[in-house]
Symmetry: C2
Subunit: 380 residues, 2 copies
């Protein structure tokens, strides 16, 4: 492997599930080429060789002369996007299972898939297993539609978590924020229907108490309007609410962008109809030229292709789930996110966090132990 | 009362809680004047006479010559915005309680308040009572940030409802859509984290079954991205999720509007810096003139001042809760919403819906009764 000349960190080997995603395998192969070219990381495509090899050849020929570090591992089975999660148990040789085993056996550093997210989570649990002490994994995303970056989780792994799971999500989200976004001592908030401590569902009020007692930098409730407004670096919620938040944000942004584009066009037409036909149109041009790139920047800000995907936290390895509709750029960005999570050692940071948490829990008994020692000193 | 010359419906008498809202009583009085002028409805301001009378005099003098149908009822106590809901029980002569009693005793048709929403709900329950058969009231809002109108509920009354309450919310939301938005046989959906029937939290999956078996026009799960996209006229959720949806939408729209304004300004400055300084600026003007009204229209679309407020459903009367930050226009729009709900007889429609629901439930036993009769005919 060795050091890349262009990147100040160790080159990694990232598994790409060639068969996952609405436009697989073509788009995944394209993304692999883009990722290898841009990042210098070694990409291991896992999937049906008969379908993947010709696609790859189209991009890099037989591979020997392209110099791109892309290899191919055959997997005889595929889990379809609509297939039930149980298929993961049945299809032992599915690309997802083969890929996860490469990560488990240390032959690769991380796995990226744009496949059925339920299946990816099941395969990760099945092949990699949970981190010892973690109740259930969580899916975490850097919330895109906001001025300040923050990690939002869980966005869909567990719809009915227990309060303890929300606290573990907080811990895992903090590890993500520290190791990947490089935020020191990240502020953790919990989604609620009001700022005050007594607001929230029963679940949220119970988790609030656990978070207050934890060693995390807990800053309290975060209302819907404040997500990504800089009040917290990690925003914790259950997988049901998190999923609604992400999908509502995506929907709203695309609606508003369309709305503004319509309004603008209508405005231009109105003005045109009014009077100075041709001179008017010429006068409009700079406005239009100005507005369009701005809209494009906005759309890019919330485009799943840009944020790379969600990090699956709580399993023994780095797994990134990209959007099912991913294009090649989204795949390449997901590879970049996976590499950052490996470099930052997110699973390791979660373990350290768990140790700190259990140490803080034993604090009272340790104090009692001190008292016991003192009293025995007095009596001794 | 008689018929208004300007409105094709009976004039109503609407109570306005003069003391409710961040800018009460000044803004509420201003809103009362605006509502009386525009709607022709009679407005009964309830509050501290010593504070309200002078404010009113500023707008309409002693009232005798203005011709505006505004009257004043004194209430010696006020429930502050931050006060605990329990205050409603203690302050019997609070403006909210006095106003609710006017509605209860048939001296007014509806009540509008921009006060502490917990207090308004408590006063409504306390003075008006629940509609027989309704488990808990719900707060319903016409979702503003979308191309298609739909009623979203509950947006904050009950954070941990039972599945039966979600079904009753569906019924009450359908009554709202029918009577106020005039949508025949409204399509009802439930917020979930996926379209498929097996998606959702335990609560949602249980409510899904009840809704499928009900006589309502149930169309299934609605994802976050599809709220207000025309897939359902009534979107049901729990008060926790509904509150997050509304606040996230408000927050996102104001963020995006700010973002676009910034981008635009930055664009203008960039271009200015580039070359044709003054001519460039002149060229920019039409674009700016075009963009600003479009942005303003967008902001108005999601402005709480425009949608008037939330309708409290499930109590024996019409109660509208306006945004705490309401300005005079918001108050006047809330009065208009209250009048529409009275005219459409929303509480009556809810009762009809409940009857239909329980009739559909007795259907199986009625069938069994028929069979019993048949068998006795055979044996008889």
């Amino acid at each position: 492997m060795g050091w890349s000349l262009f990147h100040p960190f160790l080159c990694m080997r990232i598994v790409l599930d060639a068969m996952g995603g609405d436009h697989a395998p073509a788009v995944v192969v394209e993304g692999a080429v883009q990722a290898a070219r841009e990042s210098g990381h070694e990409i291991v495509l896992v999937g049906d060789e008969a379908r993947v090899r010709p696609l790859l050849a189209r991009h890099i020929g037989d591979g020997s002369r392209s110099g791109l570090p892309i290899s191919l591992v055959h997997a005889s089975q595929t889990i379809e996007m609509e297939e039930h999660t149980l298929a993961v148990k049945q299809k032992k040789d599915a690309s997802l299972n083969v890929g996860m085993r490469l990560v488990r056996d240390g032959q690769a550093d991380a796995l990226v898939s744009a496949g059925n997210s339920g299946a990816v989570m099941a395969a990760a649990l099945f092949q990699l297993g949970r981190i010892h002490g973690i109740g259930r994994p969580a899916l975490a995303l850097v919330y895109p539609a906001a001025p300040n970056r923050c990690v939002l989780l869980d966005i869909g792994a567990v719809t009915d978590p227990k309060p303890e799971m929300l606290m573990q999500n907080a811990l895992m989200g903090a590890a993500y924020a520290e190791c990947v976004l490089h935020i020191a001592r990240p502020r953790v908030g919990i989604v609620s229907n009001g700022e005050e401590a007594d607001k929230g569902s029963e679940l949220v009020r119970d988790a609030y108490k656990l978070l207050t007692a934890s060693p995390l930098n807990f800053v309290g409730n975060v209302e819907g309007k404040d997500i990504g407004r800089g009040v917290a670096d990690v925003v914790v919620t259950d997988g049901f609410t998190g999923n609604v938040i992400i999908k509502l944000s995506e929907g709203l942004v695309s609606f508003l962008a369309r709305y503004i584009r319509q309004e603008f066009t209508r405005g231009v037409l109105n003005k045109l109809g009014l009077a100075l036909l041709l001179p008017g149109a010429v006068m409009m041009l700079p406005g239009a030229l100005l507005l369009l790139p701005s809209l494009r920047r906005l759309m890019r800000k919330v485009d799943y292709a840009e944020y790379g995907g969600a990090l699956l936290l709580g399993v023994e390895g780095v797994v990134v789930i990209a959007h099912g509709r991913s294009n090649a750029r989204a795949i390449a960005n997901a590879v970049r996110l996976a590499a950052q999570a490996v470099q930052g050692n997110v699973p390791g940071a979660i373990k350290v966090g768990l140790d700190r948490l259990s140490a803080s829990r034993y604090q009272p008994s340790a104090t009692r132990g001190d008292e016991l020692r003192k009293s025995s000193f007095v009596t001794g």
